[in-house]
Symmetry: C2
Subunit: 255 residues, 2 copies
């Protein structure tokens, strides 16, 4: 199957998952705590992951899958094709706001980014694609955004890192023209790839950065373990940065 | 004229102003700095203020007007009817993102809140009304949201105040379940009155809080100069808080 056909197939699955989420939002959502009071999971996160995992398993039984809500935590090789799923990124926003969350799917092949999907369900903004296919937003191909410097744009920053100035992150954010905190990594990636923020620094699990990394790298952005080493799609939570090349270079001057 | 008719009239003006902004966004926007590099004004801010001031002056020549972009800075009495306008709240977002900004109009009569209007132009979310008319979002009447405690919801906080823990604001934000920074006071007010955030702490000029205060007080929220004194619609920039009664009460325990 061509990458373009695969892109269209997964796009439809993610849209169907979005319809499922909107239907579930009309009913009472069951919320559970995970590691702490702001780390939540709902029956809808679980249902969405199960829906996507089922589609992938049926169509591509040999592919590996890692999902935020428990799928495939024992994956230990990047050989072959790996799907990395965050069924609802921004679950706290989902629970408290019923918006400002997204579905994310990243596909890697032999450790290399293949296709990424970020769908802001309630705003109906859907970015998808990769290096070979190009990156699209609701059907329109995205160009490489301007290579803005740190001082000339907005930046997203994890509140905990900002609060502690972890590895100069507060100083870096303060050197930008403004800082934004949205509570949803996928929305920060969307903002970056659309040229609305020139960077984002956070502490992310692979399902938080996989989809965004495929899209961002395809458009020429830098994606690194923060401040400057290779990210690991099989690793635990890691400090992470996505930025325009110039913004990334400006950040490195703080170290 | 009845309050309800006035509400409908101003709603139409603000919608027309929104159409003007969307048209101007298709052309090159001229940006100037005001007090610092993140305090911007554009030809569209000025054009929107001029449009609204003109409508008010034609219909209500005896009313006083205060606008962010220079209208009526010499107003020194709260007698009669005063209109307080922020033509584009979130100008930095407007310039860098072409979204996440809003038009705000607050009307006070003899110092008391009468009608408020907050229009998120690009998302087409329009909240308007007051104590007598009720508060509406895109035509649907808003109920008083649940009286959430500080620990049970999200809070918006000004990044500078958070950064310095100004008057315990960082500790207070950390006691909430999460903190959000949107770069647009009007969007925080919209989020609060819709029950999606339980509070917002910032440093605001009257045009930043006038519209939101009318809407929030009509729905039973507490609006105070932060941490706890009367706000001043003729004053300079002031520390400001809007919150559910329970969240406000929880905040006071930090002092």
């Amino acid at each position: 199957m061509e990458n373009r056909e695969l892109m269209q197939q997964v796009k439809r699955w993610v849209e169907e998952a979005g319809e499922y989420i909107k239907t579930e939002l009309k009913q009472v959502v069951k919320v559970e705590q995970k590691s702490n009071r702001s780390d939540l999971v709902t029956n809808v996160d679980k249902g969405t992951e199960a829906f996507l995992v089922n589609k992938i398993n049926e169509a591509y039984p040999d592919d590996l899958i890692i999902g935020e809500e428990g799928t495939g935590r024992d994956v230990s090789t990047t050989d072959g094709r790996i799907w990395i799923i965050d069924p609802i990124d921004g679950t706290l926003n989902f629970v408290k706001q019923q918006e400002n969350f997204c579905i994310m799917v990243g596909i890697f092949e032999n450790g290399k980014p293949l296709l990424g999907f970020i769908y802001d369900v309630m705003k109906n903004e859907f970015a998808y694609g990769g290096l070979e296919t190009g990156v699209y937003l609701n059907g329109t191909k995205l160009d490489k955004p301007e290579d803005l410097s740190l001082a000339d744009g907005l930046i997203g920053c994890n509140v905990g890192m900002y609060s502690e100035n972890y590895k100069h992150s507060k100083e870096i954010a303060s050197a930008a023209i403004g800082v934004r905190m949205l509570g949803c990594a996928g929305l920060d990636f969307l903002s970056v790839i659309r040229g609305k923020q020139n960077g984002y620094i956070s502490n992310l699990a692979p399902w938080d950065f996989a989809a965004g990394t495929v899209l961002a790298e395809a458009l020429g952005f830098v994606c690194r373990k923060y401040p400057d080493s290779d990210y690991d799609i099989l690793g635990d939570r890691q400090y992470f940065v996505v930025a325009t090349p110039q913004t990334f270079s400006d950040m490195q001057k703080f170290f």
